[in-house]
Symmetry: D2
Subunit: 316 residues, 4 copies
Amino acid sequence: MDEELVTELFGETMTLPWKFIVEWITPSEGVIRPIGKVYVSSSSKYQEYLITELADLGKSLILDGKVQSSVSDEFWYHEALVHPTMLSHPNPRRVLIIGGGEGATAREVLKHCSVKEVMMVDLDYEVVKSCREYFGELHQGSFYDPRFELIISDGRVFVESLSKLFDVIIVDVVDPIEGGPATALYTEEFYRALKRILASNGIFVTQAVSPSLYPRIHAIIRNTVTRVFRKVSSYITYVRSYNGLWGFVAGSDKYNPADLTKEEIEKRLSTRLCGKLKFYDSSTHQWMFNIPKPIRETLSRIKEYATDSNKATLQV
Amino acid sequence: MDEELVTELFGETMTLPWKFIVEWITPSEGVIRPIGKVYVSSSSKYQEYLITELADLGKSLILDGKVQSSVSDEFWYHEALVHPTMLSHPNPRRVLIIGGGEGATAREVLKHCSVKEVMMVDLDYEVVKSCREYFGELHQGSFYDPRFELIISDGRVFVESLSKLFDVIIVDVVDPIEGGPATALYTEEFYRALKRILASNGIFVTQAVSPSLYPRIHAIIRNTVTRVFRKVSSYITYVRSYNGLWGFVAGSDKYNPADLTKEEIEKRLSTRLCGKLKFYDSSTHQWMFNIPKPIRETLSRIKEYATDSNKATLQV
Amino acid sequence: MDEELVTELFGETMTLPWKFIVEWITPSEGVIRPIGKVYVSSSSKYQEYLITELADLGKSLILDGKVQSSVSDEFWYHEALVHPTMLSHPNPRRVLIIGGGEGATAREVLKHCSVKEVMMVDLDYEVVKSCREYFGELHQGSFYDPRFELIISDGRVFVESLSKLFDVIIVDVVDPIEGGPATALYTEEFYRALKRILASNGIFVTQAVSPSLYPRIHAIIRNTVTRVFRKVSSYITYVRSYNGLWGFVAGSDKYNPADLTKEEIEKRLSTRLCGKLKFYDSSTHQWMFNIPKPIRETLSRIKEYATDSNKATLQV
Amino acid sequence: MDEELVTELFGETMTLPWKFIVEWITPSEGVIRPIGKVYVSSSSKYQEYLITELADLGKSLILDGKVQSSVSDEFWYHEALVHPTMLSHPNPRRVLIIGGGEGATAREVLKHCSVKEVMMVDLDYEVVKSCREYFGELHQGSFYDPRFELIISDGRVFVESLSKLFDVIIVDVVDPIEGGPATALYTEEFYRALKRILASNGIFVTQAVSPSLYPRIHAIIRNTVTRVFRKVSSYITYVRSYNGLWGFVAGSDKYNPADLTKEEIEKRLSTRLCGKLKFYDSSTHQWMFNIPKPIRETLSRIKEYATDSNKATLQV
């Protein structure tokens, strides 16, 4: 057995790892990972949060037992969330982010030279502050960009009270866990509230859970968006830190990222970006928008949608 | 908490699950899954094998601690392995499978109406026999198809001794684990031996480990195939039972599955198939052959290749 | 790190262990141990059984997820169960064992030269047969001793149908797990049935779960025995394979093992034994019958007892 | 399944537990326990420390992955460590504690009315301070008793520099883990240094690891003490939080706690104690000093002892 493996397992002092997190994919399937250095570990009013080194994933943010971002592959998620929608719009200047506490979604938005204003509305000041202070690898300064504005508020309430218009709205909040803080951000009423503050040629995208692990929830999000917007696309990426495929749903009355050709994507990337991308390009776009058949078929069989009085929620 | 969840966790007799497998993704990251009904559990001369129910995955074959096939998603693997290559060839009649003990690779090959002969060479009679007897969900009768022939032999030795020619050769063997039975099936010398028994317009494909978890090994396989064949493609699928993305490498002097257009794929599928597919179609093909940028870039930095005297091996 | 340790952890082929059992001490505290060579693994009508090598414990019998006996320390249990009671009786000739499927309780009984007849009544022929065939380390031939007789029957039914008398009765059955096969073997009605077939100067003993982990159940067994016999003692041992202290309750109208002096024990051991003991002697006896204060006090506060219509059951 | 159990497993928000510690009993056998509320979690110069709620054990101090004290049963350890030795001495006035950072050993010492002075020497100010601040359940004010004095120092160095004499010396330090902070506190040279500051009728005791799990280390401690003191006793308790039996070694030229009769113990307890005990009394004493035969026999076969140049160390 090579030395490195021993050291990895036993550490330098020859002791076995003894602190672990288990991320439950289902109530009976879990991924176990040793915890290394802990940067911050506490509970806010809304959730338990932990910024720590995790074996293999590296420095990670964990909320209520779910890895939200790890340095090893957060860009597979954040770039997938941001760029297809941003590039679909001809000239995105005003962008609203609901959630996005790590600052990494803002970081990607700010790479688009056209952007004049990024407003980010997050519920949990403690988590935002901890990420800003302890997790510079994620935000890379986006919190201090002059175009960036942070609002601490309930996303739903704030959206309903706003009167200005945005070109792009990005919903980057935790999964609709039963009893969690985000279930009201996945309903038809919420999407209608979003549409009210979206320019008529605006476009919106939301993270939409894993379509392979939780196809019912993903389909419901897509179906719900479809009730509000004329052009809707599901698309997927893979995030190792999330233990599988991950889904998104984009909605607009005008634009559909699925319509972008490889050529058009490369052209826009080369003219509209003021920062480098690690994940997204035209091939990656094809990979994300060509959903494999078993997922397409499973999703097509689900007809439900979510309203405030009939929410769809996850139980792990 | 809903009843179903309780039953899932505790079983009907209210006892907690107590038998588990941990599949180690790395020496410090593992997926833990309860074991249900055991169909067969033994060790052959070459490996330890287990056919059992696994929580969430369903009935599964496990070799030396690695899930090889589970009923929940084996077709994400077997269809990805077989169909791009089979469809690239204009008229595949004689097919050789190295490995493939479950009979599921043969099952997919036999769905192509053109096929006259499938020869499958597997090392481990015990495992083949157990799959044939206890895992009909996988082979679905392929072992008894008149076009099918089973040879129990070391794949390397057998290939070097054969003189007939095949249209398609498919390598479906376990990963090149250090000390495991398959390390000699991933070297330049082996691929040259394969080429000797491949028709001049033939095409070959091998499973090629996870390009995200073990990019060095995947790149080495691709680089090694490139030394022997003129047209080479890496492509990927996702297999939840394998805990991530999974890779393949196809090689030929004549055909490249990456060149198939969506239209051509749909046309060939509609005319050449004698059985239904659950995973593969033209969109799935696009998904598989558009590899996301971070994997492409990682692979492109690795220049090594494997020979008999300088094998590349995995350590978990 | 020493070589032995590496081999222990990784096996000779350098792979990490991947099959485990978790023994749940409570619903949230479990001991995890890798499984080695499996001798037999199946389910009978009554329970799931497994004879396997366990890391650190060695060859072990596991019923429904609970280690029943491991070669490393089964004598801490079996000698503790058998000898205090056998030695208390002046001349034990006829002995009845309820349960005792491994044959190890019979093995200890047969070490007493006075014994002419051992009748063992076990419910589960499959488990008895598997132990007899695969676990000679436990029974050491007791199944083939001419004084030994095996009856496959429900212990409760059999006891109620018997008319002969025994000098000593030993109850060696699984814990009274809710829904398990042994809950009717811990009630007042059962103890009265036992008393009917016990000689007037006979003595009885039952395993009585862990008094530290499950004090309520242990106390209920003691209280229930007290309703039927005039002289009753709780005593304890430690069994690493059971993850803690373990308890027994002896009952008789005539004898109390707690009254035996060190001198008397040594005298009887030296004159009445026809086999060697590894665990029990007069110091061990003192250790077992001097129960530490916190257990005594906890037990003294529990006044419940068990009847057929009001059984006491464990939930893990 | 009862409600309580569900809540215990899932918490009130219905999520599965996701933070765990695994305490490794051996490199391949571990006890897994969910972590609840964390009071403090940090690393000092010497060790990693954690004060947290643990499922089933309650509030606990963990050093380098080993549970040191939990509210559920710390008195099984601390009373076992302190009282046999304190009671053996006719009139203990000056007591030295090496280690004992939680303040619980001092708490027990201060229950003896004769005590005029308790000096506690601990290496790790951070841990002592954290216990003093966050773990009042353990020290119960002992840190603020006017008879108590805290010295932060290396125990070995301090002992070698002292010139005053003590009636009783108690060594309450972590196990001699390879590379850990306490290996120099288990050698012949250390015990000779202790003897120099022990009154001629003084008595000393040290914690001495688990004699069942690590018999070689326990025997070496006993053998080493035997080289320095004329009267030496091994004795044992059980500590669930330590996953098994636990051992101690007492040494003196004058007194041996093993010689105390039940009557003498009860008499001294009733006249010399100024506080209540939960664990120790004369029956508990008999339980502790009658070591079961297999441990006695294993220990008797080990002849090694430890010196500064030939230390005995544990590897987990």
